[in-house]
């Protein structure tokens, strides 16, 4: 019954999306102007219906309704409740439903609150949003119906991949999806602006909070995903350049570029065509990334879970949406008038440099991700990993970070470098001193060395925009920028420390043996069996003492899940302010010794702390923008009210 209700809601939502597209398009013509009033309410109702469909699927998973194919394939009655819930989006159909739900809700929300744009642009935007949604609705309803029933209910479900049975991961995909799909708003705004030729500061100001919101979710999602991979995979690394990770990084790079170019457009009415282009590219990267992951053409180990028809369907959607948007762009970009001018030393130039470098990094990641596919076309099976990605992205990231230190200090339009030189002395000296000291004293690699030097300079440099300001009167968006840039410096410091100073020990030990790893002494105390709700495990207890201090207990596990049967290793972490001890329990050798893998990772937590600071900066800036928008609205209403009263 619930399944049928959900399906009905989904069909209705799809029908409303069609109405939204048709009404929106008609309303742009002189004869259809009467349709204009319909579009916004329809967009809101469509969002609500999509939400109802998604809620129905959640309910089915929570009840473990095994007559529904999707539930039978992905859930198990013995699973803890929270993972039953997470099972809703832990699969292809559910995640696609989440995708259209977020798209519908975002479109509905824009329809509800966005009043700054000219109405025709708004109508074109909502029609664009509906156009993209329709493709995904069709895909859901005809090629991956989440509500399909089994002819016969099964006795018991198949369960969820135990690796996914983790609280962090349970909420990771929705966070990322909010980011991916939130960018669809930027895409639709770009389409709307191109259709009505209204590319200007108003467009940038309207688009900016949406991009910012999506970008915050992406940042949090990527940071959380990286931490999940770090502690769950048991390999001690925090970024693997896996296609799935790249799929989330690419939209982030594009959205970061978009945020910066939108601020140029909003403040200075320059970079018009480029900003529109990025609006299209950012969401295109979301779709391309999702496609690459979902179609399975890249992750060959997943090859046989994939129905080739499904991949073709998504590819057709990509071709229509991205290809269509790019053709529209190419046709209209020539008529987008040139923006305001600026000189080479100006904040605009710094932001252009930032955009070029971010786009370059995006190109590097995209090429590296697609290269295996290209090589396969020529008959070679290859994989591309850190030896390519690390130096190549650093090549773009490091110069960009240098400019990040200078750019915020420059004036808009025209400036002289001599003016800001005084404020850059401290950061430059600090960076130079660290480079010289570390470069001469220890044999660390070039990239970590540059990273540490740059981080040392960036910390003071990112605070510089606050110098000479009254801190209480500094606008929130400036605070947001400072916090986010500081977060970049902190994350860079963590990354460089981790790659320069990590100590790894791989040993086979008996109970009672001591192992030294970095400043820590680790003693294996015991190995005991333990049981959880749907798993059993061998748990090692070890005591770790930092420089001979009070020992702290760590308990890594080797877990065996039974629905579906699979083993995972649960690493144990000891977090100190200056680093983490990372412990993994391996197998027992024939002679009774236990394999242990231990890492001492100085300041590794700074990576995720930095990531969260970047997101926090976004939140602060977003609050600042929303508050000032609200103030302006209220002021306008007051004026209108007064005029009305005077008029009487």
């Amino acid at each position: 019954m619930i399944a049928e209700l959900g399906l009905a809601a989904l069909w209705l939502a799809a029908a409303l999306a069609v109405l939204q597209l048709v009404a929106g398009a008609l309303a742009l013509t002189p004869r259809g102007a009467g349709m204009a009033g319909v579009v916004r309410p329809v967009a809101m109702v469509q969002g609500v219906l999509a939400l109802i469909a998604f809620a129905a699927l959640i309910l089915l998973f929570c009840q473990t309704d095994l007559s529904v194919k999707l539930v039978a394939m992905n859930s198990h009655s013995a699973k803890p409740f929270i993972y039953k819930l997470a099972g809703t989006w832990g699969n292809h159909e559910g995640s696609m439903l989440l995708w259209v739900t977020v798209m519908g809700l975002a479109g509905g929300f824009v329809a509800l609150v966005e009043r700054r744009l000219p109405e025709p642009t708004m109508l074109a935007t909502l029609a664009g949003q509906a156009f993209v949604s329709i493709g995904f609705y069709v895909f859901l309803l005809f090629a991956s119906n989440p509500f399909e029933r089994l002819p016969q209910p099964v006795v018991e479900g198949q369960g969820l991949n135990p690796l996914l049975q983790d609280i962090g991961l349970a909420f990771h995909p929705p966070t990322l999806y909010l980011g991916y799909v939130g960018l669809s708003i930027a895409f639709s705004f770009a389409i709307g602006a191109l259709v009505t030729r209204e590319v200007g500061p108003a467009f940038a100001r309207a688009m900016r909070p949406w991009v910012m919101g999506a970008w915050i979710f992406l940042t949090v999602g990527i940071t959380a995903g990286s931490y999940w991979a770090y502690y769950e995979l048991g390999w001690g690394g925090w970024w693997f350049w896996d296609p799935v990770e790249n799929a989330s990084l690419m939209p982030w790079l594009a959205a970061t570029a978009l945020l910066h170019s939108a601020s140029v457009l909003a403040a200075r009415n320059a970079l018009r065509a480029w900003t529109v282009m990025l609006g299209v590219v950012a969401f295109s990267m979301s779709m391309v990334g999702t496609f690459l992951v979902r179609s399975g053409i890249l992750t060959s180990v997943h090859a046989f879970a994939v129905d080739p028809k499904r991949g073709s369907f998504i590819l057709a959607l990509l071709a229509i949406n991205i290809g269509g948007a790019l053709i529209l762009f190419a046709l209209r970009a020539a008529t987008v008038t040139e923006g305001e001018r600026f000189t080479v030393t100006s904040r605009e130039s710094a932001l252009v440099f930032n955009n070029v470098m971010l786009s370059g990094a995006l190109g590097i990641v995209l090429m590296g991700t697609l290269y295996p596919l290209l090589a396969e076309a020529f008959g070679a099976k290859v994989s591309v990993g850190p030896p390519y990605f690390n130096p190549m992205t650093a090549l773009f990231a490091l110069p960009m970070l240098v400019v990040m230190a200078i750019g915020p200090l420059l004036n808009w339009r025209r400036d002289r470098f001599a003016r800001v030189r005084a404020r850059l002395i401290v950061p430059a000296l600090l960076a130079g001193a660290v480079l010289l000291w570390l470069g001469l004293s220890s044999g660390i690699g070039l990239l970590p060395l540059l990273g540490l030097g740059l981080a040392a300079g960036l910390v003071p440099a990112s605070l510089m925009p606050l110098r000479g300001r009254n801190l209480r009167r500094t606008p929130l968006p400036v605070w947001g920028m400072v916090v986010a840039h500081l977060g970049v410096a902190v994350a860079l410091f963590g990354m460089a420390c981790d790659s320069a100073y990590t100590v790894e020990r791989l040993v086979a030990v008996r109970i009672g043996d001591k192992t030294e790893v970095g400043p820590l002494t680790v003693t294996l105390k015991s190995i005991e069996p333990v049981a959880g709700p749907n798993w059993t495990a061998l748990e090692g207890e070890m005591l770790a003492a930092y420089l001979g201090g009070e020992p702290v207990a760590l308990r890594p596990q080797a877990r065996s899940f039974w629905a579906p049967p699979q083993q995972t290793s649960e690493s144990a972490l000891l977090t100190r302010w200056n680093g983490q001890l990372y412990a993994v329990l391996g197998e027992q050798a024939q002679d009774g010794r236990w394999q242990l893998r231990l890492w001492w990772k100085p300041f590794v937590t700074m990576i995720w702390l930095g990531g969260l600071m970047i997101a926090l900066g976004g939140v602060i800036a977003l609050i600042g923008r929303v508050v000032s928008d609200l103030r302006r609205l209220i002021a306008r209403d007051k004026i209108a009210y007064r005029r009305e009263r005077q008029g009487r």
């Binding site: 180990v301 997943h302 090589a375 791989l506 086979a508 391996g586």
Partner: protein, 151 residues
Amino acid sequence: MSAIKAKHQRLVLVLIALAALIGAGLLAAWALRNQASYFYVPSEFAAKPPELGRAVRLGGMVEGGSLKTEADGVTIRFVVGDGKARVPVTFKGIVPDLFKEGSGVVAEGKLGPNGTFVADNLLAKHDEKYVPREMKDMTAAQVKQTVAETK
């Protein structure tokens, strides 16, 4: 500053941006050719071994009876075969959960000087979605226990 000069500066900026992006593309193409790690099966590996020290991947079946653990308790040796050729592999580390004799494996690493493949990572071939891996990764005692429960 005159308008013409500003216009020129802008053109210069655009051209620099385009040049940077095209340069990036060429650089990436070059780096990819050099850094991508090729996939070998044992017969290809035997016929045309990769250069010493180049990162490659080797995929095949772990031969039955070939898995040995060294005295340090963490280094293992085994043979990867595809029915036509056999390649000896060493690996220092904790093996993945699905790694066992008779199962498929992809080893990432380099060819060592003595003809042994030195793996720095092992990936057991698996698929979460479709293959419910039964007792594949349990110990003999666990297998006996589950079989007892099943009967």
